[in-house]
Amino acid sequence: MEIDPVTLAILKGRFEQIADEMDATLFRSAFNPIIAEAHDASHGLYDADTGDTLVQGKSGLPIFVGVMAFAVKAVIRKAATQGGVNEGDVWIFNDPYDGGTHLSDFRLVKPVFREGEVFCYLASVGHWHDVGGNVPGNYNPAATECFQEGMLIPPVKLYDKGEFRQDIVDILSANSRQPISLYGDLNGQINAMDLGEKRLNALLDEYSVPTARKALVALKARAATMMRAQISDLPSGTISAEDWLDNDGIDDVPLKIALDMTIEGDKMILDFTRSSPSCQGPVNISRATTIAACYVALKHIFGDVPANAGVLEPVEFRIDEDSLLSVKAPKPVGGYTETILRLIDVVFQAMAQVAPKSAMACAYGTINALSLAGHRANGARWVMFSFFGGGHGAHGAGDGLNHGNAPISTATIPPLEILESAYPVRFTKWALRPDSGGAGLYRGGLGAIYEISLLEKEADVFLFGERGKVPPRGVVGGGDASTNKFFYEQADGEHTPPMVSKMVGIHIENGQHVRLETPGGGGYGDALLRDPEIVRADVIEGYVSAEKAREAYGVVILPDGSVDDGATTALRRERAA
């Protein structure tokens, strides 16, 4: 018998609440700020047989919404070789080739038993502070094997039939530069799973196992229905989009991400087989990560799509084995963020061709992981590490957001006053970057300029960035944004890195500076159709220069700040011709 619609609607909220409460528990008790502040973690409920996502929390990191099912599937596979899971087991691992993303993300998976069988799995993922490897914090732009990025733990039991295995924790702790933080985060994740199990059991007591099971089946079917309805609204046919990574940090050769998207009625095929093969440097990603990134892109476009495996039911993925987008161990994956940002960009570009109204242009497209490191006069080592922001793409209803965070994350940037108080640096500029947004009927959001001067005697600078060669693209006829730029000052003046936005160990001295000029977002629609008065307002605000107003928008601004209507009309007519 089918479940009644009212119970279904209520159970949907109750299931989501369990995942949300697990998120809240970990955020509150985690030790490391990457989880506590940046919410680089996620929780959910997963199918007892397939590991498919049933329900996932709303407050975790967006990229995990698509990737967690693969972690549960990996545990189910591993457990099958040992006769299956037992009541009281909790599995732990960080293998990115099986479970997606990178080594810093530790996953816990726990079966919940009812009446002797698995009702579903609960899972928790959190980004730990340090998991070993060559570089503190595990962001190693020069890695050519995962062994240089950190320890790799396959699915093993943290609890065996309810018995806690301290030996596993001892192994993990011995391989981290931050064992206390690791222990605190691990405990937070265990707390979250315990709470989830308690809440789930209460729900099952109240509504019965068969009713809850029916609800989960129905919710998955409805998610698939919803996605099919969204896809059916798109015109059938095949659309292609290509975009590029600058290089892998080892060879200065651009890497292609190509998407051929086919819509057939209510089915969608995402074919990435024309993309580059795997590379030496750390911008490879696993198949699980690729699928998760597409999910993130689709959820940004469609909005109300639930976090449930049903969403991907009507979507077929074609990804070559051992390619850039489906890599095998031990090829490095530490820089996975750059590749998934580019994947999101190609999905945005393809969707813009079939559904221009709901389209968004590409966002700035790089996390720009920048670190400065050195020793203080007293010998103490310091490392300043942060990600930097850029502009969001324009969209069918307005201009892009200035200085936003990356589509895969909701993390905020630390206050510059905190950075200056903790490290021997002085910011000399923290400003919007004029003209960095793509031109269009709607303008892309602006990127930023961050200039940092060294107060200590000397320091080494590391940068992991992208979008140095190919700018974030506009859509529906909108212009591209500016590329990412990085400058470092030495005695003989300013330089730029040979790999454009990636560099290891740049030496700078007291008073010398580095400057990051981040990309804006792409534009939307024809810039020649933007109201000249709005272009004028942009010039007055300083978002757009008078030169760019003329060159990209065909709007002539007079020295007194007003629009030269006659010259503008003539220039726009000439451009349109």
Partner: protein
């Protein structure tokens, strides 16, 4: 000080609530008049005039205001300029690199100060307080003159690292004041001398932006009261739940950002305390939203900051209020997969629910309550409408929900309520869990007009122990004004290792700050039962980013050892395990001075000459609950005597709210006139 009357006035969007307390006779009276948009002071004075013949009899007027909140939300503050350090004019616009919503990159942000009105001067202070470059007052004056000529009415001076050393900022502010045409000059470190540039600048800029609006409103209010012969004290409720003098409010208008809702929580806290409840969840249900706030162990939870809107950050201690999109006007609809959803889309109060007959055709939570018999169609709350259109509401639920789902209209309406209740229950659970509390130890306290229809369901849904419905839920905020204490908060960033701190000197500094703060508190001339001083450090292990609040007592002589011990106690209470051997840092100190106002006797609400439940029964109505029709008794709530007991299903009516007692619950009148609702024993 003359007169015996204390008055609380809460000005809301629709109504101005007035609460009159005669200290000599112990008598209380309430009244409600329409708010006067444009100039709220008119409705304010009119409301008092209805109840008080001679304004000379009034000792104190305490006011919860939404003038500041509305100016922020509607962006109707003054044109404001910012003078800042070279290289940093975009701090306000760059925020903390966030976005309005997690999903969909379609958000935008329009800073309240346009870019050309944000100007820079050469100067620089380093993080350790060293002045790297002096500021030139003449250069500052030139920038200030240019801003004033461009049309700015208010200005904020904000320098990087001003929290560590405000020397340059003070010189600049003095220079600005010497040429600025109005009194509206805000110094960022006077508002918030705390590390974190965006939060400090945003708070200070909003203060500048509000100053002309709030000051002129308070001026009009003072003049209006004066004209009526008032010569008592006028106090304003702050977002932290304390009150301040009107002069302080003009200097720190940003502290009124959540003045209105804070007053409600304070009243709830006082009512609950008198009634013997130390753990409550306040539930304020409006047209579009449901606001939840937690009072644990008798203390309202305070949040260090809040966002009034995306990127509009105010960092001053505020009563923590969590809002979800489930109000009386929340719309019920089916999503693309045919699943029933309620909210966050809302019909608000205009056009409002279908039954208002003002043009909305999509069913809302209020429509569901009406159809199920929980609201009296002939006596709508609020008095704006004469009657509610039950037939059209039925029709809307039939076409939009019951027909597509194959349910009867009653079943569909109950489904809408169950979903709305489930959302509210979820908010309560999440708020209590985030604070580490067990929701079953809490009682729900509804205030505002709509909440009392849903509290019974919340008891069942969340497993709350009980619900406490105050005697006048509709005027709770006005009562809160009368009972709130006077309070002033100060913060200063220290940002030093504990081992580097001269504890004795810091202790003297804290005491000296407490003395100047107390002068602010006492300057308004209010009478206090006593004055409390609270001293806290925000501390953390080096390497961490989240601080813990550590209570210290400088009056007994502060030592490094005592601070470390206090930190250990606070940290283990928050996280369980101490990290031995890791040095600790003092990030900020906080000094709070609280002037405790004379206790208000909640016994005044006890019904006098109350009647038995039978005598208060005014009739009966068919209600639908838990899948069946019931004949529910209707009662005149305010006439019920202390100790009277009514078993659900029952509907209790009073002018400002309607209370639904679900089947299986029992309502009892306590000694303070509250209705305590509990599961039937």
């Amino acid at each position: 000080m003359s007169g015996n009357i204390v008055i609380g006035v809460d000005v809301g969007g629709t109504f101005t609530d007035v609460f009159v307390y005669n200290e000599a006779t112990g008598q209380v009276e309430t009244t409600k008049v329409p708010s006067t948009r444009g100039d709220q002071s008119k409705g304010f004075i009119e409301g008092i005039r209805r109840k008080v013949a001679d304004f000379g009899d009034i000792r104190t007027v305490v006011h919860g205001t939404t003038v500041g909140t509305n100016a922020l939300l509607e962006r109707k503050g003054a044109r404001t300029g910012i003078i800042t350090t070279e290289g940093f004019r975009d701090v306000l616009e760059m925020r903390r690199r966030d976005r309005p919503t997690t999903w969909g990159l379609r958000g935008s942000f329009d800073p309240i100060v346009d870019r050309p009105d944000r100007v820079e001067v050469e100067e620089r202070v380093l993080a350790d307080g060293t002045v790297l470059q002096d500021v030139d007052p003449e250069a500052v004056k030139a920038q200030a003159r240019a801003l004033a000529e461009a049309g700015c009415e208010a200005v904020c001076v904000f320098f990087i690292n001003g929290y560590a050393n405000d020397e340059n900022e003070r010189i600049a502010v003095e220079a600005v004041r010497s040429v600025w045409p109005t009194a509206y000059v805000t110094a960022a470190t006077e508002i918030l001398p705390e590390i974190r540039e965006f939060e400090r600048l945003s708070t200070a800029t909003l203060n500048a932006y509000l100053q002309p609006v709030v000051s002129s409103y308070l001026d009009r209010l003072e003049q209006g009261l004066d004209k009526k012969g008032f010569h008592g004290e006028l106090l304003i409720v702050q977002s932290n739940g304390g009150v301040m003098g009107v002069g302080t409010a003009k200097d720190f208008p940003v502290r009124t950002a959540l003045s209105g809702p804070a007053a409600g929580v304070i009243a709830a806290q006082a009512i609950a305390e008198a009634a013997g409840f130390s753990n409550i969840v306040t539930c304020d249900m409006g047209g579009t939203s449901f606001d939840v706030s937690l009072v644990a162990e008798g203390a309202a939870a305070l949040a260090p900051q809040t966002s009034i809107d995306f990127g509009m950050v105010v960092r001053t201690p505020m009563i923590e209020i969590t809002t979800i999109g489930a109000g009386g006007g929340s719309i019920a609809s089916l999503d693309a997969s045919g699943l029933l959803t309620v909210g966050p889309e809302s019909a608000g109060s205009d056009p409002g629910p279908v039954c208002y007959g003002l043009g909305n055709k999509r069913p809302t939570v209020t429509d569901a309550n009406l159809i199920l018999g929980r609201i009296n169609p002939d006596r709508p709350i609020g008095g704006k409408l004469d009657r509610l259109d039950i037939d059209t509401a039925r029709e809307a639920i039939r076409t939009n929900v019951s027909d597509p789902l194959g349910l009867t209209v009653e079943e569909a309406a109950e489904a809408i309520l169950r979903l709305a209740n489930a959302k509210m229950a979820g908010a309560i659970r999440l708020v209590s869990i985030e604070k580490g509390h067990d929701p079953s130890k809490f009682a729900a306290m509804p205030f505002g007009g709509g909440g009392s229809l849903h509290t019974g369901a919340l008891i069942k849904e969340v497993g709350l122990g009980s619900a406490l419905v105050p005697r006048f839920p509709g005027v709770t905020s006005a009562l809160g004004c009368v009972v709130a204490d006077m309070r002033h908060d100060r913060v200063q960033t220290v940002n030093r290792l504990l081992s580097d701190i001269d504890a004795a000197a810091l202790g003297s500094e804290l005491q000296s700050v407490a003395r100047t703060t107390e002068a602010v508190v006492t300057s308004a001339g209010a009478a206090f039962a006593r004055i409390d001083r609270v001293f806290e450090f925000d501390m953390l292990y080096i390497g961490q980013t989240h601080t813990v609040a550590v209570a210290v007592d400088p009056t007994v002589g502060l030592t490094t050892h005592a601070i470390q011990e206090a930190f250990n106690t606070a940290y283990s209470a928050a996280y369980g395990r101490l990290l031995d051997g890791i040095p600790v840092r003092v990030m900020n100190y906080r000094v709070t001075v609280i002037g405790r106002r004379p206790a208000f006797d909640m016994g005044v609400f006890a019904p006098k000459d109350g009647k038995s439940a039978d005598e208060c029964r005014t009739g009966s109505r068919t209600v639908w609950a838990e899948g069946a029709f019931h004949e529910a008794g209707l009662f005149d709530r305010l006439s019920l005597a202390v100790g009277e007991r009514i078993a659900g299903p029952a509907v209790l009516e009073q002018p400002d709210t309607t209370i639904f007692v679900d089947p299986g619950l029992v309502a009892t009148v306590d000694g303070f006139g509250n209705l305590v609702i509990r599961p039937e024993a």
